[in-house]
Symmetry: C2
Subunit: 318 residues, 2 copies
DNA sequence: AGAGGTCATTGACGCGCGTCAATAGCCGCG
DNA sequence: CGCGGCTATTGACGCGCGTCAATGACCTCT
């Protein structure tokens, strides 16, 4: 019912070992005609090696696990992982997504069980996790260890730069209140603040809110009055603040400027549409693929240092 | 470095076979003290069986793959899969997410490679896929085969019922334009229309739009003028239509009524806030877990017929 | 005391595959 | 004719585990 390498061998009239070697790169030692016969048999039988068998023999599978943070997974993130799935599959790796479960124990179970080739996370691993993964012999790939620069840092920096260039001097940064969803808040805020410092602007005030009218109102209260320009964790945060400002009668952008992040479709439908930051997901995908491959193939991939291209989308909120 | 069942056996002073049986339910035949020794050794070594070995020996792994449709994956869907991950892991199954890749071939590769115990989809499998999966001996679980009723049918019905109860008589249904994202559009529209028929209301007009101002404007044009009540595929669609209506000066809900779906945080921040439909994701999770277990454990789980609870959230658009 | 019977435990096998060391065939050179 | 040196191919082993027939120990009943 389901073809094994033995079936392929029989059909091609060679030994199973021959099949295995030809399919695993050791093919150069074999007569061209033999290779052809084997490949033909593979095609005819629709043979696909069993991951279990491979994993057992090699000690690790061809599976790459991406840990999905508890952030809203949609839009851009989904595009990135979609691209990653395709690209890695083109290289014989199977990308699989796993919603992160917060407990180190279950991470351990997952890793031991599936023996993934690598484990991918968009947020830095804790020291515990990193240690755990190393002990299990799994490549742990996170933004810090990746060869490409951290996108999130760039985002915070760009938001601040834009606002300052526009002439705003009283800045603030707005996190998502729920720390689990504010996955990238740390680095973004840090670089946002750093850019302020570099440009001689007062350190930003920091607020945090959930995506609802009450939280947004409270956040505005904390600022103490109009006159701020706020870098927002994402477009949803910006939308909430925009809503609250509108209820309060603050004029946007004159009395409250906002810059979001993500360029979601809905960010075009607010009044006024949001000023926000867009990024090219294909580049992030590429960069991540590079990171993964360079860590797996010992031969040190060229790590083409793909740059992540960010772009400010001018809206009416800045 | 990484404990195997042999290590456990050595430490407990028994044979590997004993360990294997005790850990796999055949434990009743063993002396209580032996069981205790084995379990202690397992704990001390942090032993976790290798999925590869298991899969090889048993012919299928403990992995359940959920195919993620190309819809926006966030909010509710994410909650559902998060719950599913936890619940299944409690039952010894590892849920893993896979962005759907549209090509039957790659599905095949995935299935042959990982030998999943079951494969889960929120959208019905095509006949080809179903046939493929059956041939590979994988349980294919989709809404049609699930033991619980189809949520999407209920959603369409509820939207129509709400609008009709409110006195609206000229109804329309608004799909997402991109068929890939309009994953559940089919059943929802069907039941929406069916409810109209049952209530003696004219069949709804059908439109489709992307989440942007232009598409929404075109959709309004297609309706031919104000006076409609629209059941929307989701809150984003409703938001787009609300935006377009507002630009056009149509009064909501007097001249255009809307009911969305999902009860997203952003749906509370439109002006007026959307009337929408909320559902209890924990119930969906439960129902799905039941479906999965009843298909895997031959012993026909009681299939507790958990009902999916939907609730209309009154906003200002109906 | 021996036959029969339980209960606790083990040994051996195979799942599908990757990896060498080992073999067989061949040619050229001395 | 024999030997070394190729190249093409194969055999045997082990990865970690589940399964089941088989073993051994012990007890009861005749």
């Amino acid at each position: 019912m389901i073809a094994t390498s033995q079936d392929v061998a029989d059909r091609a009239g060679v030994s199973r070992s021959t099949v295995s070697q030809i399919l695993n790169g050791r093919g150069e030692h074999f007569a061209p005609e033999t290779q052809a016969r084997v490949r033909r048999a593979v095609a005819e039988l629709g043979y696909e090696p069993s991951a279990a068998g491979r994993a057992l023999a090699k000690g690790s599978s061809d599976i790459v696990i991406a840990l999905i943070p508890d952030t809203t997974f949609g839009g851009n993130l989904q595009d990135i992982y979609g691209g990653l799935t395709d690209e890695l599959s083109r290289r014989g790796l199977t990308l699989v997504l796993r919603l992160s479960t917060h407990t180190a124990a279950s991470l351990d179970r997952l890793v031991i069980g599936m023996k993934p080739r690598a484990i991918l996370s968009l947020t830095p691993f804790s020291d515990d996790d990193r240690q755990l993964l190393e002990r299990r012999g799994v490549e742990a790939i996170d933004p810090q260890s990746a060869s490409h620069p951290d996108v999130n840092a760039e985002i915070g920096r760009l938001q601040a730069r834009h606002l300052i260039d526009r002439g705003y001097r009283r800045l603030a940064y707005a996190h998502l209140h729920d720390a689990r969803s504010d996955t990238f808040g740390g680095p973004r805020e840090r670089e946002f603040a750093d850019e302020c410092r570099a440009r001689g602007v007062d350190a930003p005030q920091i607020v945090a809110l959930g995506i609802n009218a009450e939280d947004a109102a409270v956040a505005l209260d904390q600022l103490g009055g109009p006159g701020f320009a706020i870098g927002c964790y994402n477009d949803d945060v910006a939308t909430a603040l925009l809503h609250a400002a509108s209820l309060r009668g603050w004029r946007v952008p004159q009395e409250l400027a906002l810059i979001g992040m993500d360029h979601t479709p809905l960010s075009r439908l607010t009044t006024p549409p949001l000023t926000t930051v867009e990024y090219d997901t294909t580049l992030v995908t590429e960069a991540t693929v590079q990171s993964v491959l360079s860590r797996l193939d010992k031969e040190g991939f060229s790590a083409a240092h793909t740059e992540v291209r960010l772009r400010v989308i001018e809206g009416g909120t800045s």
